[in-house]
């Protein structure tokens, strides 16, 4: 065990927690590695930092490495070592829109994506201006999925803008946007500042969606397989620790520090607890699996996840879907993840694919170590994404 140093870039978001906890709680040291955490100012900068070796690994929006493999926007070879988090993001609307929705009798149940989407479409007369943090994000993909499925002619009536998470509330306050889709705590910050109300968690659109991943340059993983495997283990242990309800308060305290997210721990706790305050009046909604790290094979780099993302990206950017899915498979390093965690007696799935959207309830399946309980993963419109059907 030599003390290898790994620099890891992150964005100030609640779902950077596994990387931060791996460092702060000694999971990294336990693996004989030392993490140097670097906070990035924007997703594009973080991408460039990892692509060009300014950092070794990065907290990354799950579609970014796939978009890079497909050569959309830019081109580079990144590997996804593991999935850092599932869900953890919200859709918010500006105060004027929230007021109109209430006037129309909408109840803000924070659950029914069909009802919320239809109510939203019904109450705007000008093109809806929605912000996402980055063009390649689950936010953008699920927003398109949601509005397209509801029959909104997207080109005509939605303007999707890019705004970095910490600036989302400011943009709404300035009247630049009507709605946003953003990772916590930045949705709650908009609520705290009184500029908007929360309409839905993104999990209401897809109940178990891969949100952030742990990415490295492919050349780095090939040159440093041992260190990369230790990084996977350290971050996985941190994720397991974070999934324990009793650790959430401490996690919020650590993340609230100026060098990490720099937001009060009380606000950060909402995401960890899945108790989301949706309006300044203090209305609170309980969301199951609001933010999940390892539970239900959440950190497993499912090839059905990479395929879903590749399929969506291909559709939106006019590429061939089957070759996009093939390229994406090389990005999610499922075999590498399996071997890195083989010493940990982790209950891992026996396959790399599942039908996405097919599980309406908790489902117990055979795994490498006993039974594995998979979480519900439905899409709001009842669609099932099955690779077999695509062929």
């Amino acid at each position: 065990m030599n003390g290898a140093n790994i620099s890891v870039g992150f964005m100030p978001l609640v779902d950077a927690a596994p990387i931060i906890a791996a460092h702060e709680l000694g999971f990294a040291r336990q693996e004989g590695i030392e993490l140097e955490l670097v906070r990035a100012p924007s997703w594009s900068t973080l991408r460039d930092m990892v692509v060009h070796g300014r950092v070794d690994a990065a907290h990354m929006l799950s579609p970014v490495p796939i978009a890079l493999a497909l050569g959309i926007g830019a081109e580079a070879e990144l590997d996804v070592l593991s999935v850092l988090s599932v869900n953890g993001t919200v859709i918010g609307v500006s105060k004027p829109i929230a007021d109109k929705l209430r006037q129309n009798g909408f109840k803000f149940d924070f659950q029914d994506a069909t009802a919320a989407g239809q109510a939203l479409i019904a109450c705007v007369d000008a093109p809806l201006r929605i912000a996402v943090p980055f063009p390649f994000s689950m936010h953008a993909e699920l927003l398109h999925y949601w509005l397209t499925a509801l029959g909104l002619p997207e080109i005509l009536s939605v303007q999707v803008k890019t705004i970095p998470p910490p600036l989302m509330a400011d943009a709404m306050a300035a009247g630049e946007i009507d709605a946003f889709c953003v990772g916590e705590p930045w949705g709650s910050i908009a609520v705290e500042n009184g500029v908007g109300d929360l309409l839905l968690p993104l999990s209401a659109i897809w109940a178990f969606a891969p949100e952030k991943v742990l990415a490295v340059r492919r050349a780095y993983r090939e040159a440093e397989p041992d260190v990369s495997a230790r990084l996977i283990r350290a971050v996985w242990r941190a994720g397991k620790w974070l999934d324990q309800p009793e650790n959430r308060m401490m996690a919020s305290e650590i993340l609230s520090r100026p060098e990490y997210v720099n937001v009060s721990s009380e606000i950060l706790e909402r995401a960890f607890d899945g108790q989301i305050v949706i309006s300044q009046q203090g209305d609170t909604r309980k969301v199951p699996n609001f933010l999940t790290f390892t539970k239900g094979a959440a950190s497993f780099p499912w090839l059905s996840w990479s395929s879903w993302i590749a399929n969506q990206l291909a559709k939106r950017h006019g590429l061939d879907a089957s070759s996009a899915i093939l390229s994406a498979k090389q990005v999610f390093q499922t075999e590498f993840y399996r071997s890195a965690l083989s010493s940990e007696m982790v209950a891992m799935p026996l396959t790399e694919f599942k039908q996405e959207g097919a599980l309406k309830v908790h489902t117990s399946v055979d795994s490498t170590h006993g039974q594995l309980v998979l979480e519900p993963d439905t899409f709001f419109d009842g669609e099932v994404f099955d690779l077999e059907l695509l062929k």
């Binding site: 100012p41 594009s44 830019a74 063009p135 600036l167």
Partner: protein, 194 residues
């Protein structure tokens, strides 16, 4: 072919923006314009239709440019040069310096080099200045908190300034902490007791 290259510099700090523009003009015959506001960034850039956009990597607004790099439009599919890999060495030094450049597709690296060289030099200088400024600010803040702590001790114990300072110093040494830390703890505690 030898049409003047147009460059847009996105930088909130007016003085800094101007200095970067000046050094670019020194480096070559470029048409340089500045954008010092974040709002409507994409629109402002489209209006100017530049060959190159330079922006501080520390600026969160950079992600808004990324969106433009995807859309075809007035900027006719520019690419993020960093992932273009046309000149890896140059790209690396630009990243180290904290400058990022967006370049219209098809622009030759040799035409870009003087632009980046000039802005990298400027960005380095600003980086150093920013660090120095932070260090000065910190020293000033520490000075202020030590003065406050001295005042509290003088009042509470009825001692002279020198004695108060000596007491702070001794406490810091005994506890193996920095003088400013001890002073700040004392000021906080005194605030609570009020």
């Amino acid at each position: 072919m030898t049409k003047k290259l147009s460059i847009v510099v996105v930088e909130k700090n007016q003085a800094r923006a101007k200095l970067i523009a000046d050094s670019l003009r020194e480096a070559g015959d470029f048409e340089v314009s500045l954008i010092t506001e974040d709002t409507g960034l994409a629109r402002r850039i489209s209006e100017r239709n530049p060959d190159v956009v330079l922006i501080d990597m520390e600026s969160p607004s950079r992600d808004m440019l990324e969106e433009m790099a995807l859309a075809s439009g007035p900027l006719d599919r520019p690419v993020a040069m960093f992932v273009d890999r046309s000149d890896d060495g140059l790209t690396k030094s630009a990243i180290e310096a904290g400058v990022s450049a967006y370049v219209v597709d098809g622009l030759k690296p040799e035409r870009l080099k003087p632009i980046l060289d000039a802005s990298i030099a400027r960005f380095h200088m600003f980086h150093r200045m920013r660090k120095e400024l932070e260090a000065t600010k910190k020293a000033l803040e520490e000075r202020k908190v030590i003065d406050k702590a001295k005042g509290i001790l003088m009042k509470a114990r009825g001692i002279e300034e020198d004695a108060a300072y000596a007491l702070l110093r001794k406490t810091a040494m005994d506890q193996g902490r920095k003088l400013a830390e001890v002073a700040s703890a004392l000021v906080t505690a005194a605030g609570l007791l009020k």
